[in-house]
């Protein structure tokens, strides 16, 4: 971490300017090594169960002082990490690959969701059996910039439906229009819609073969290089946090609900339960929570290259670090 003005002020009175400047790299190194420096973790949404393990992580036991910065729709966490305005951030794997191909040196450390929880939800009454039928009639709310939206467009064409911007977590338009379909987190919006009395069918995006790691803890290459020990402790704390959250989400849910009262306690519990299969599967049972494989990264890079999202394929090993 960079030294702040106050920590430098002490030296200024006693040293010649040149001598002082010569010590800057050393001071910078020492402060960056300090395990008590405040670390910022930028989220891309409000406190909710998808961040449970981050809120429940025992940072203090790992001598870390972590400040969690909640985000909102469009919080540019990947740029924040690159710019140094947060040491850690939550990104998705596809976002990270695009960022790296644009020169933003961001590295994945821990992938919470092994399978992407993105999906398309439709009204059950339509009797749709496959995702391609979603694109045969009505309106579909999709964030057009997302790679999977363009992958869907490539596979199914969008000439028979009206594509409109995604309303985020808002399901009002969905509830009002039986022919409205919208992108969703499979354990979030469909639950809300069911609570409001709607019958919902969800088609997971992962079924189309596009399955990036999601809710991925990442840092910058520079921070990783200069603070390998801190990063290691961070990942260990986060892994313990997720283990604890999966075993007993209640204490952390209470903590998060105090920060995000718009979601009720029952929903917190329901979502925490529903997301478990996305977080813990055969892979993680063998390799540990949050682990990632080179093959998965390679496949994603190939898909993004094929879509034209990245001009050239990038090395998969640079995208993530096994810790």
């Amino acid at each position: 971490m960079r030294p702040n003005k106050r920590s430098l002020g002490y030296h200024q009175g006693n040293m010649q300017r040149r001598a002082f400047l010569a010590t800057l790299p050393a001071i910078s190194f020492l402060t960056s090594c300090s395990s008590t420096s405040k670390l910022r973790l930028a989220l891309n949404w409000k406190p909710d169960p998808q961040f449970g393990g981050f809120y429940g992580a025992p940072y203090k036991e790992h001598k870390l002082d972590v400040e969690i910065l909640p985000g909102g729709a469009g919080t540019p966490t990947v740029q924040m990490i690159g710019a140094g305005s947060a040491e850690f951030g939550i990104v998705s794997a596809d976002e990270l690959v695009v960022a790296r191909s644009r020169g933003n040196d961001v590295v994945a450390l821990f992938a919470v969701f092994q399978d992407t929880p993105q999906g398309i939800m439709v009204h059950e009454e339509r009797g749709l059996m496959a995702i391609e039928e979603v694109f045969e009639e009505g309106t579909v709310a999709l964030q057009k910039g997302l790679p999977y939206a363009r992958l869907l467009e490539k596979q199914f064409k969008f000439d028979q439906v009206k594509i409109v911007p995604s309303p985020g977590g808002d399901i009002t338009a969905f509830l009002n229009d039986p022919l409205f379909a919208q992108q969703c987190f499979v354990m979030s919006e469909p639950l809300q819609a069911r609570h409001k009395g709607a019958k919902v069918t969800v088609f997971p995006v992962a079924d189309t073969g596009y399955n990036p790691y999601t809710t991925v803890l990442a840092t910058s290459g520079t921070f990783l290089k200069n603070n390998a020990g801190v990063v290691e402790q961070m990942v260990a704390a986060v892994r313990e946090g997720w283990r604890a959250y999966l075993d007993n989400p209640k204490p952390t849910n209470d903590k998060m609900q105090a920060l995000n009262p718009s979601m009720d306690a029952a929903t917190f519990a329901e979502v925490a339960e529903a997301q478990k299969p996305f977080i813990e599967n055969e892979d993680t049972q063998g390799m540990g929570l949050g682990s990632m494989t080179r093959e998965r990264w390679q496949k994603l890079i190939d898909q993004l290259h094929g879509l034209g999202d990245i001009p050239e394929a990038i090395p998969p090993d640079d995208c993530f670090r096994k810790i």
Partner: protein
């Protein structure tokens, strides 16, 4: 040249500095694009950007036209009696304080996806300056001239069209200048939620981390705002230069 040069110098300087700063890697190119990258994005995506520009222009212009017509009409109505003014003016102020980004999703529910939402958004954010300025203009009409119209037995209609509105013209035009920029902002916000236009281009480009394209779309939106502002200035110059000090300098 005397008028063009002063604003041109800071612009060229800013372009040169940002080009050098990014090329020298003082600023990362994924945070701020070089002006040349923005230009390239404009050229590469010219068809998409041009179509988006036309959509945003229509939405902003229609919203602005609606604000102008209704804004002046409401101000005339409010000026007709103190009681009406007291009863309704607070609601006009309410429009000014509406956080458009918060109600934009509701506009989609009310008006559906597409142009109607964009026009409504442009209208909501741009009507207040028209009402407020027109009202101030009408209420500031010279009392001596008002008395003269009364002495000659002029009807209310004649007084409005021959005296109050012409006298309020400088203030009306000031309101329109402010409203023109706001209408463009309102249209873009409407497009974030309602789809299409430059707002949609910005939204998609941002998701794709294409800062060059975001800047290209934002630049076009600014050009639209400037063009509208220029149009109002032209009208102002044409209508006021014979009698109002603001256009005689």
């Amino acid at each position: 040249m005397k008028r063009i040069l002063p604003p041109l110098i800071p612009m060229l300087l800013a372009i040169a500095i940002s080009e050098i700063a990014v090329r020298q890697a003082w600023i990362a190119s994924y945070l701020v694009p070089t002006p040349s990258a923005v230009l390239m994005a404009m050229i590469d995506s010219r068809v998409e950007l041009w179509q988006a520009f036309l959509k945003t222009s229509s939405g902003a212009l229609l919203g602005f036209a609606l604000s102008t017509t209704l804004g002046v009409a409401i101000a005339v109505l409010l000026s007709s009696s103190r009681r009406i003014q007291r009863a309704f003016y607070p609601y006009a102020v309410f429009f000014q304080t509406v956080p458009i980004i918060a109600i934009a999703p509701l506009l989609v529910i009310w008006f559906g996806y597409g142009m109607k939402t964009v026009i409504a958004s442009a209208f909501v954010v741009s009507i207040f300056p028209v009402i407020a300025n027109t009202l101030t203009g009408i209420l500031s009409t010279d009392p001596a001239l008002r008395d003269m119209f009364r002495l000659y037995g002029a009807s209310k209609r004649t007084t409005l069209f021959k005296l109050s509105l012409p006298a309020a013209l400088p203030q009306i035009l000031t309101g329109l200048r402010v409203a023109s920029g706001l209408a463009v902002i309102g249209a873009i916000v409407g497009e974030f939620i309602g789809g299409e236009g430059l707002g949609s281009v910005v939204d998609v480009a941002r998701t794709q981390q294409r800062v060059d394209k975001v800047f290209a779309a934002v630049l076009l939106a600014s050009i639209l705002g400037l063009a509208l502002f220029g149009l109002i200035n032209l009208i102002s110059n044409h209508t006021l230069r014979r009698w109002h000090a603001s256009e005689q300098a």
